[in-house]
């Protein structure tokens, strides 16, 4: 009897199952953020400048564009950004704009997979390509091999110092690495943290390694690694890691550097607890904010990482970058996104400079009024820089980048030797 009853079910069961699978899979269909009526922006949460400037534009110069396609910002921790990008990219579900990964290799792979918009062609079509600073354009092309990210920031990096603390301890601006180390020792002896740095992020420490390498071996030191002409385990490269490990061993980064996050590092410097702070000029937003900056903007000075005696590099070669740049989704592009891009290209430079006090790769065509002194200093330094360098992981893949940044704190706390650190990063480079 049961078999007779079962027959119709046997026939219908495959159809029921197939329908269920179809319904389930339909739920996984692809969608893009701009298609869902938003001008989405996926960005790391440790840098609010771009978000603030775009939010400000959305209620100002780009109000009409925002009405047609409202700005929708989603933040993720920097450490989770690569994962989000690769997952969303795999489903063609990237929002209209997304922060390029800390590793240009990931952004390049998104480009090869057809996920990023060719901005050179698009901005030329829109007639706003001339609103991009040529220096920013060339920096982007050097890094990414094409114009695939927007230069919401154009930064230089170097050492910011507290003028008052330097004066109180009888210190001059160091011109050699040894003088900087001696200054750090003086500050440590006086009970002041010499360098404020985020070991939790890692990259503020690895940038000191690349800084030392450029001074010691010249501006092509890391290009030689990328080309395979040299290895990070070569003695001269290990020496650079050792120099930074020595700074940690002498206690110049203060206690618990591995637990200090980016905001804490900034606030340590801006509340007068640290004498020096290696960072990019994207921190100008914080420096120009009186609530965060308790030491006063007149009290902050800047010097490029000093030269290493006997090295072939020069202090004029300053690390420059386009911040954590933002790419535009090729899949999510439509006319309304195009209108947003036009408005951004025409107004972002002025907005960034006048309201945020930060320098971007967009030309500031409007009235920016009197610039804060530090912003002016950065603008002048950018104008005077004839040769720029990249950060430590700029030419590494995702794996080597993560290994480098994860282990940086261990290098300066002494939990990992300079040899082991460089060997670990090189091993990942070899496997990529």
């Amino acid at each position: 009897m049961p078999t007779i009853h079962l027959r119709p079910l046997r026939r219908t069961l495959p159809f029921v199952a197939a329908a269920a699978i179809a319904v389930t899979l339909a739920g996984c269909g692809t969608s893009s953020d701009s298609g869902s009526g938003h001008f989405g922006l996926l960005i790391n949460d440790d840098n609010a400048i771009v978000q603030d400037a775009l939010t400000s534009l959305s209620t100002g110069a780009c109000e009409a564009e925002n009405k047609a396609l409202p700005l929708d910002i989603e933040t993720v921790p920097q450490s989770g950004l690569d994962q989000q990008l690769q997952l969303l990219g795999g489903q063609s579900a990237l929002p209209a704009q997304f922060a390029a990964s800390g590793s240009p290799a990931v952004t390049k792979s998104l480009d090869e997979a057809g996920q990023t918009l060719d901005l050179e062609a698009t901005l030329t079509d829109l007639g706003v390509i001339d609103d991009i600073e040529p220096a920013a354009l060339s920096t982007i092309e050097n890094l990414y091999g094409g114009f695939i990210v927007l230069p919401y920031q154009f930064n230089i990096e170097g050492v910011w110092y507290n003028k008052q603390i330097f004066a109180e301890n009888g210190l001059e601006v160091p011109t050699t690495w040894d003088e900087m180390v001696a200054a750090a020792q003086t500050l440590t002896d006086a009970g002041v943290t010499a360098f404020s740095a985020s070991g939790e992020q890692g990259w503020p420490i690895t940038r000191l390694i690349s800084g030392y390498l450029y001074r010691e071996l010249g501006p092509d030191a890391l290009q030689r690694i990328a080309a395979g002409d040299a290895k990070l385990t070569d003695p001269e490269y290990v020496a650079a890691a050792q120099a930074i490990a020595d700074l940690g061993a002498a206690g110049y980064f203060g206690a618990g550097v591995g637990s200090i996050d980016y905001d804490t590092a900034v606030s340590q410097f801006l509340t007068g607890q640290a004498g020096m702070f290696y960072m990019g000029s994207w921190t100008l937003g914080a420096f120009n904010d009186p609530e965060q900056n308790q030491i006063g903007e007149d009290n902050i000075g800047f010097f490029p990482l000093p030269e290493v005696s006997g090295g072939v590099g020069s202090a004029d070669q300053i690390p420059a970058n386009v911040g954590l740049p933002i790419a535009v989704s090729a899949k999510g592009y439509n006319d309304e996104v195009g209108k947003w891009l036009t408005c951004i290209s025409e107004n972002y430079g002025t907005e960034s400079l006048a309201e945020q006090g930060t320098v971007s790769g967009f030309k500031a065509t409007g009235d920016v009024g009197d610039l804060p002194p530090l912003t002016q200093l950065v603008q002048d330094t950018i104008a005077d820089t004839t040769e720029s360098t990249l950060w430590f992981e700029a030419l590494f893949g995702a794996k080597a980048t993560l290994t480098s940044q994860q282990n940086a704190a261990q290098l300066v706390t002494g939990a990992m030797s300079a040899e082991d650190f460089m060997a670990a990063v090189q091993a990942d480079l070899d496997s990529e």
Binding site: P2, T3, H5, L6, L9, L13, A17, A20, I21, T24, S79, D82, Q83, Q86, L87, G89, G90, Q91, V106, S109, L110, E112, A113, Q115, G254, A255, G256, V257, G258, S259, I260, T264, S267, Q268, G397, A398, K399, L402, T403, Q406, N407, A409, Q410, T413, A415, M416
Partner: protein, 294 residues
């Protein structure tokens, strides 16, 4: 009842939907992941066959060995801690606190209902050294001991993880084992007491053997849960300092989703599956042997 369970159509109707959902959300992804171990690539670029390359890489990757070793250490220490403390607490509930145990049970169970990330953030603050000392370092300073950078070295970071995870989960095992203990017939305990069994002798000769089945379940729960630990470590140390507190799960996650190596990530997942399966079988076997002997 007999009629319903004897009717194959009824069985299919009752089990079908659940089986279909289970197949779609569990079996298909598991088999898919197994298949991926023979491919390389990611969601962006698609997948290319890689033969046994991922397995070759597995055997020459020192980070896998480190991660396995960390996972095993973590699982053994946390399981022992959870079960021993949980069992101790459940004995306390049943034999010392008795009816008054309700409030203590609730308090000890409370961390179980807290979100793991919130607990991890709390422990980060408790053990902080920068920008200012957490309560633990303040306590040490009070007794003249210098502050410790708890998350700065592998050993101390591991210690914080152990303390946090045992604190977080012992309440659950206490309640689980408590349920087993209250099932022991009062008459058995009473007669043992009349025979002169008290304290440790009562526990070791009567209570422990009678609660072995529930203890075994607790051990299997615990070992499988701890071998697959992910969220608490991700939130507390993110595998650091360096990679010294990276379990297999976190390494698999990074490999797949940060490095974009889905195939190799799946191979690491396979190792984890084999590990869990092996340990569970081992526990079942040794438990069966004990029962036969007993």
């Amino acid at each position: 009842m007999q009629n319903i369970l004897g009717d194959r159509k009824a069985i299919v109707i009752l089990l079908g939907p659940a089986l279909l959902v289970y197949t779609l959300v569990m079996l298909v992804p598991v088999l898919w992941s197994l298949g991926l171990t023979f491919f390389e690539g990611n969601a962006l670029f698609g997948f290319q066959p890689a033969g046994f390359d991922n397995f070759v890489q597995l055997f020459s990757d020192p980070r896998v060995l480190d991660a396995i070793w960390f996972t095993i250490r973590y699982a053994v220490i946390i399981t022992v801690g959870q079960i021993v403390l949980g069992y101790g607490l459940s004995l306390l509930y049943v034999f010392a606190l008795r009816r008054a145990s309700g409030i203590v049970r609730t308090l000890v169970f409370f961390p179980v209902v807290l979100p793991t990330v919130a607990v991890a953030l709390m422990f980060q603050q408790l053990f902080a050294v920068a920008p200012q000392n957490g309560i633990v370092n303040e306590f040490l300073n009070f007794f003249g001991v210098a502050s410790v950078d708890w998350f700065g070295s592998a050993g101390t970071a591991f210690l914080v993880i152990v303390i946090m995870d045992i604190w977080r989960s012992m309440g659950f095992y206490a309640v689980l084992l408590y349920a087993g203990l209250v099932d022991i017939p009062e008459e058995v305990l009473e007669s043992a007491r009349l025979d002169g069994a008290r304290g440790w002798r009562l526990v070791s000769n009567i209570v422990l053997p009678l609660s072995l089945p529930v203890l075994l379940s607790a051990v299997i729960f615990s070992i499988n849960g701890t071998l697959k630990v992910f969220d608490s470590i991700l939130a507390l140390t993110n595998g650091g300092p360096g990679t010294s507190t990276t379990p297999l799960t976190l390494y698999m996650f990074q490999t797949s989703f940060s490095y974009g190596e889905y195939g190799y990530g799946s191979t690491i997942a396979l190792v984890l599956t084999i590990l869990c399966l092996g340990v569970t079988l081992f526990i079942f076997r040794s438990a069966r042997r004990d029962n036969t002997l007993g």
